[in-house]
């Protein structure tokens, strides 16, 4: 009986290897965060159906637990073969020695130079590539067209400078009746790195140096941007709840239809269209002080656990994900394309506002730091402490807040290094 079983297995193996010479049929395990639960299962199913040589096995992990779960699994020797990881974590994962160097695989892709530069910049650690672009989300500015029309503004023209944002927000705010001009989550570090830093980038400033060894937040651009938000708060253009919003209203506030302008992300386009089809809104770039624009290039990097022996299958999966077919599937299910030369094709026929988000993505930046979580995402970290103090303080509070933030960030970077 057992012998027969083995014999059959042997025959099967022979048959498979006959179909796919040189390649082994294997199943690799893949983890992704819950944020990507719309497109990931579809992509994996499509990949598994597209060929029979390889198989991807997907596990969705709650977003906030992904790092811890992965760490525990890695310590126990049961890490997944590959992981779709929030791209800002790539440097710290690579630094800890958990990831496989995939430089050769990356460079062997014929369309390598078409892949999202921002993703690759954080996917690189010590000149080696550890993460490849996988899914993308850029930050943009959204405005409510209905409220613009009511306020006597051109509903089809979004603001292009800080002064215009301010002027438009004032007009919308004057409508009264519970309508506010502007909204941002004033106590959420993650939201503000996504939507507030682009204002600084577009004005010529930055928050870290290129390799993340120095915090450079004490700049005139930072002080100007803080004063810009502070002014709107002081004049009552922003709802009072913003001061203590740790991110729960990041999307919801604008969706109520009572907010004129709000910085948001590409993810909001799909969510608004689906959940609030009656809301008329426009999408534009996050502007610099006197024009220009920038965006936070967010999303996931695809990383491979150290010591996996499923590289063949992983490469096949990446090839599929980067194909026009894969990119189209992503684009239709909530992620922007990450491969520039097929982006147009992938986005064809979709809501035009996606094109703006995709363009923002192409010009986007991602800050590089091995201690990103500590500095930026922590609800009690120096980034959000500084912002919250300055946004909701008085003019004199901006200087000390920035200096304190700069010192605190630098000390965390130095301790880790």
């Amino acid at each position: 009986m057992i012998i027969r079983h083995f014999a059959r297995l042997g025959a099967l193996a022979a048959a498979v290897s006959a179909f796919a010479p040189g390649a082994q049929a294997d199943t690799f395990t893949l983890w992704a965060r819950a944020d990507s639960s719309t497109f990931m299962p579809k992509l994996v199913d499509a990949f598994n159906a597209s060929q029979s040589g390889h198989k991807a096995e997907l596990q969705i992990v709650p977003t906030n637990e992904l790092v811890q779960k992965y760490a525990v699994a890695a310590a126990g020797g049961t890490a997944p073969d590959a992981l779709s990881l929030d791209l800002i974590y790539t440097p710290s994962f690579a630094a800890s020695g958990q990831l496989q160097d995939i430089t050769d695989l990356a460079k062997s892709l014929p369309y390598f130079d078409q892949l999202s530069k921002a993703h690759l910049s954080v996917g690189t650690y010590g000149d080696r590539i550890y993460g490849l672009p996988f899914s993308a989300d850029s930050s943009v500015l959204v405005w409510n067209k209905t409220l613009f029309r009511e306020a006597g503004l051109d509903p089809d023209k979004g603001p292009t400078t800080w002064a215009e944002i301010r002027a438009d927000a004032e007009k919308v705010d004057a409508l009264g009746n519970g309508v506010d001009g502007f909204y941002f989550s004033g106590n959420c570090g993650g939201c503000n790195i996504f939507t507030f830093t682009p204002l600084i980038w577009a004005s010529g400033g930055d928050i870290f140096n290129a390799d993340g060894t120095e915090a450079t937040i004490d700049t005139p651009q930072m002080r100007d941007a803080l004063a810009f938000y502070q002014g709107m708060v002081k004049d009552g253009l922003v709802p009072a709840g913003s001061q203590t919003d740790t991110g729960s209203n990041f999307f919801a506030a604008f969706a109520t239809g009572k907010i004129g302008i709000s910085p948001s992300g590409a993810f909001a386009i799909g969510a608004l269209n689906e959940q609030f089809p009656d809301l008329e809104y426009g999408v534009t770039f996050l502007p610099g002080k006197d024009g220009g624009s920038s965006s936070f290039a967010g999303g996931d990097n695809f990383v491979v656990s150290n010591g996996t022996d499923k590289m063949e299958a992983i490469k096949a999966f990446l090839d599929y994900a980067y194909s026009p077919e894969g990119q189209t599937l992503l684009a239709r299910n909530g992620s922007l394309p990450v491969r520039a030369d097929v982006a147009k094709e992938a986005l064809a026929g979709l809501d035009e506002r996606y094109l703006i988000a995709a363009e923002a993505m192409a010009n986007g930046k991602t800050p590089y730091s091995v201690v990103f979580n500590d500095l930026i995402n922590s609800a009690n970290g120096p980034w959000i402490s500084m912002l919250n103090k300055a946004f909701f303080g008085d003019e004199a509070s901006i200087g000390p807040a920035v200096e304190e933030g700069q010192a605190a960030m630098q000390s965390i970077i130095d301790t880790a290094g």
Binding site: V67, F93, A240, T244, D374, N380, G381, S385
Partner: protein, 311 residues
């Protein structure tokens, strides 16, 4: 097997038989407490040992731990954020304990009698205790929300504040709204503990005192208070150690804000371990907190010890 042992034992001289019988009884006793011992070992001693072990390492969440001896403990000596968090925790513990035990005692005095209405009150006072801290905190976070919650609108309508005020945005109102929530949620628990003490006081004592002309206040001060010392000590120790370990309510309602002024000690340990991924350092902080808690509990027990028992 046991029959053979029994026979073998019976064959021995009487003295040794008695001794072995006692040993057997001891063994049987050990067998009975073994499950409890195993539980303590697996769920208390082992984790504690692991924590001590981890605290002597640089133990990142990802990557390999490295032995660094007492360096974590030296570093925490200069960790201003930790000591500030500990300071805030003590501040909170002080007010939470006064609020909880005061309210608990008042409720216990009120609800100690018999009767259907009293039973109803008791149930009502105790009900919030069975809600989890997380759900209670979420409920409170919504009630205190400036745009959609009840309190800011209520305060405005009552004329207590001019306009809608975000009560979670400044320290004092934020701190008190959390403390009031904790008192609302936990006072019923301390009421039950203190009530058990009140009910064990024989009615004769108060009756006799009343006949002798003692006022209600005198009876409370000289009869009730001394006689509920033991349940009171229990309530105090539980309350202080519980408050020193406060985390959920500040994490969920305030996220440590405004301006990180409500970061408690446990919150800081959580941040160190799961935001900064420094598990070793977090373990060292936990050990320090444990030592402080044990010391506090010992002091309280000693202060409230029974004088007769001590003699």
């Amino acid at each position: 097997m046991s029959a053979i042992t029994g026979q073998a034992l019976a064959a021995r001289p009487a003295v040794s038989s008695r001794r072995s019988r006692r040993r057997r009884r001891d063994l049987a006793g050990l067998l009975y407490v073994a499950p409890a011992l195993a539980l303590v070992l697996v769920f208390f001693v082992l984790p504690l040992g692991t924590t001590v072990w981890m605290s002597l390492h640089n133990w990142p969440l990802l990557g390999l731990p490295r032995w660094i001896g007492l360096a974590n403990y030296k570093a925490l000596w200069n960790d201003k954020a930790f000591w500030r968090a500990l300071g805030f925790t003590s501040y909170y513990t002080l007010f939470a304990t006064i609020g909880l035990l005061g309210t608990g005692l008042a409720l216990a005095l009120f609800a100690q009698g018999t009767g259907r209405a009293v039973a109803l009150y008791r149930t009502a006072f105790f009900l919030p205790v069975v809600i989890g801290f997380a759900s209670a905190s979420l409920l409170w976070a919504w009630l205190a929300n400036v745009d959609s919650g009840l309190f800011p609108a209520l305060f405005e309508a009552l004329g207590l504040t001019s306009g809608r005020v975000n009560i979670l945005a400044t320290f004092d109102p934020a701190f008190w709204s959390v403390t009031v929530m904790v008192v609302w949620k936990m006072a019923g628990f301390y009421m039950v503990i203190l009530m058990s003490g009140l009910q064990s006081i024989p009615a004769d004592y108060t009756e006799a005192a009343r006949i002798d002309g003692a006022s209600a206040l005198q009876r409370f001060r000289h009869i009730t208070l001394p006689l509920i010392r033991r349940p009171f000590a229990l309530a105090l120790v539980l309350c202080v150690s519980g408050s020193m370990l406060a985390f959920d309510q500040f994490y969920i309602i305030l996220a440590g804000g405004p301006q990180n002024q409500t970061v408690t000690a446990v919150y800081w340990i959580f941040n160190t371990s799961f935001v900064s991924f420094r598990l070793g350092y977090g373990a060292a902080l936990s050990m320090v907190l444990l030592v402080i808690l044990v010391a506090l509990s010992v002091v309280q027990m000693w202060l409230l010890r029974d004088k007769e028992e001590a003699r």
